[in-house]
């Protein structure tokens, strides 16, 4: 059966995630309202502006519904802004959070746009070949609870982590042709 994967399409780079998922053979649903969540096997929260997406999530309780599904084991993968939105604590901010992962996230942790970079990142769970990781005004996880598995570290900072059905990375796998990160998420959906 084809996997039906939602991509939160309120703001940000949702189209790129859609293209990668379609390439991997999924049915993709762009999620803008609660009814779009029906019947999905997993959800991606894309990069974008976390404050903007957070505001839009509060309309018609879309965020609350996602939170409920996430706590009921729906696989959810957040990239960049998505990592921020998944974290229970956002440093120096009272912005909206889905409050799902036991992590403390710091926004714009590598600096402003002029400090944005790409690098070769080793993700042991995805084999010995590095992943080209694009960091754009990226966050990182300053603290993670013991139940959170760290998948990758850059410059001493946790940039990729998993907690059960929840996956979060600080970089943008949707902007590079390497499909391994998305495939890892689809494998998580299979496990559930």
């Amino acid at each position: 059966m084809k996997k039906r994967v939602g991509v939160l399409a309120l703001q940000g780079a949702f189209r790129e995630h859609r293209q990668v998922l379609e390439h991997l053979g999924c049915d993709v649903i762009e999620v803008r309202k609660t009814s779009d969540l029906e019947g999905i096997h997993g959800l991606i929260i894309p990069g974008g502006e976390s404050t903007t997406i957070g505001k839009l999530l509060q309309i018609d309780e879309l965020g609350e519904k996602i939170k409920e599904l996430g706590s009921q084991d729906l696989p959810i993968f957040g990239t960049c802004a998505g990592m921020i939105l998944l974290s229970k604590t956002i440093i120096d901010s009272d912005q909206y959070s889905l409050n799902l992962m036991d992590t403390v996230v710091e926004r714009n942790a590598f600096g402003r746009q002029v400090a944005s970079f790409e690098t070769d990142l080793l993700v042991p769970a995805m084999g010995p070949n590095t992943i080209r990781a694009v960091f754009i005004r990226a966050p990182y996880l300053r603290e993670v609870a013991p139940n959170v598995g760290i998948l990758a570290v850059y410059d001493g900072k946790t940039v990729f982590a998993r907690q059960g059905n929840l996956l979060a990375c600080a970089f943008h796998p949707e902007l590079t042709p390497d499909l391994r990160v998305h495939q890892y998420f689809l494998d998580m959906i299979d496990e559930h």
Partner: protein, 294 residues
């Protein structure tokens, strides 16, 4: 190895802004209102386009103090404008840590022949266009994001519509041409051949394209999204209107839910007075900012 300021991270930030609204602000207070309303970035300015239009004189890069005071109060990206061709203003904005530079026709051009060589910078640039040739020249110079020029400070969407329709129909035409016609098309539109080939093959611009210049209502924003832009710049349209908070929020919602007319009807209610508009035909040639740049 790590690569700072690569083309990928420059175009990548624009990808993250998609589906969002970038708002002109002139004070930290306005920047906070914009962020609260859900803006995905702000453009820090000394005067909004309609005031530049009304006051006349030479319009320049904003005072760095204004830009820094805005950067200090919001967590979203802060953009700033440099005059066309004024690479020193651009260097100053880069040194300040601006997240994006708009080489903008809203300011008085500093060079009547050449735009900035944007490849030389770590900070990404956005530039305006009226047609595909102009868009591809700017991308050839290193712009990581494009926007329609529209006619800034008028609150009249007609020029933004004209420019977007022109770009889209020129893209469609290239995709239908046999290969031997593409060099002549490149010559006729004054565009780099390699980018013309890219358009012919992919049917889209290689960078993100926003609408700008005249957007004043949620319906205007939704119209531009339907025409195929990736997101919206609102200049004078918010803080020159009767109720900036409500209007800013409504335009953000309209940009996300542009396909849902019921939502658009709901959010278009009770927004107070929109900015006073200007009929384009009343502008003299020298008052048309879109003619600046080449």
């Amino acid at each position: 190895m790590s690569d700072i300021g690569s083309l990928k991270v420059k175009t990548g930030l624009a990808e993250m802004l998609k589906g969002g609204v970038i708002m002109d602000v002139t004070t930290p207070e306005q920047a906070i209102i914009a962020e609260e309303a859900g803006a995905c970035a702000v453009m820090a300015l000394e005067r909004v386009p309609s005031d530049i239009r009304a006051e006349g004189g030479v319009a320049r890069m904003a005072d760095p103090t204004i830009i820094q005071s805005i950067m200090a109060v919001v967590s979203i990206p802060v953009m700033a404008k440099a005059r066309i061709g004024h690479f020193v203003e651009a260097r100053i904005l880069e040194a300040l840590g601006a997240d994006y530079i708009d080489e903008s026709e809203v300011l008085t051009p500093a060079d009547e022949t050449y735009h900035i060589n944007k490849h030389d910078f770590k900070v990404p640039f956005v530039c305006g266009c009226r047609n595909l040739g102009e868009a591809l020249r700017r991308i050839g110079e290193g712009a990581a994001m494009i926007r329609t020029k529209g006619e800034p400070g008028t609150g009249n969407v007609v020029e933004a519509v004209r420019h977007m329709r022109t770009v889209m129909s020129e893209i469609r035409a290239l995709t239908l041409m046999p290969k031997e016609e593409l060099m002549t098309a490149a010559k006729n539109m004054g565009a780099p051949y390699d980018l013309v080939l890219y358009i012919a093959e992919h049917g889209k611009l290689p960078v993100v394209n926003f609408a700008a210049g005249g957007i004043a209502t949620p319906a205007d924003a939704a119209l531009m999204m339907h025409l195929g832009v990736d997101g919206i710049f609102v200049g004078s349209g918010i803080f020159k209107s009767g109720d900036p908070k409500a209007r800013a929020k409504a335009i953000v919602l309209a940009t996300t839910h542009y396909k849902d007319a019921k939502i658009l009807a709901e959010i278009s209610k009770d927004l107070g007075q929109p900015m006073t508009g200007i009929e384009i035909s009343t502008l003299t040639d020298s008052q048309r900012m879109q003619e600046r740049g080449w």
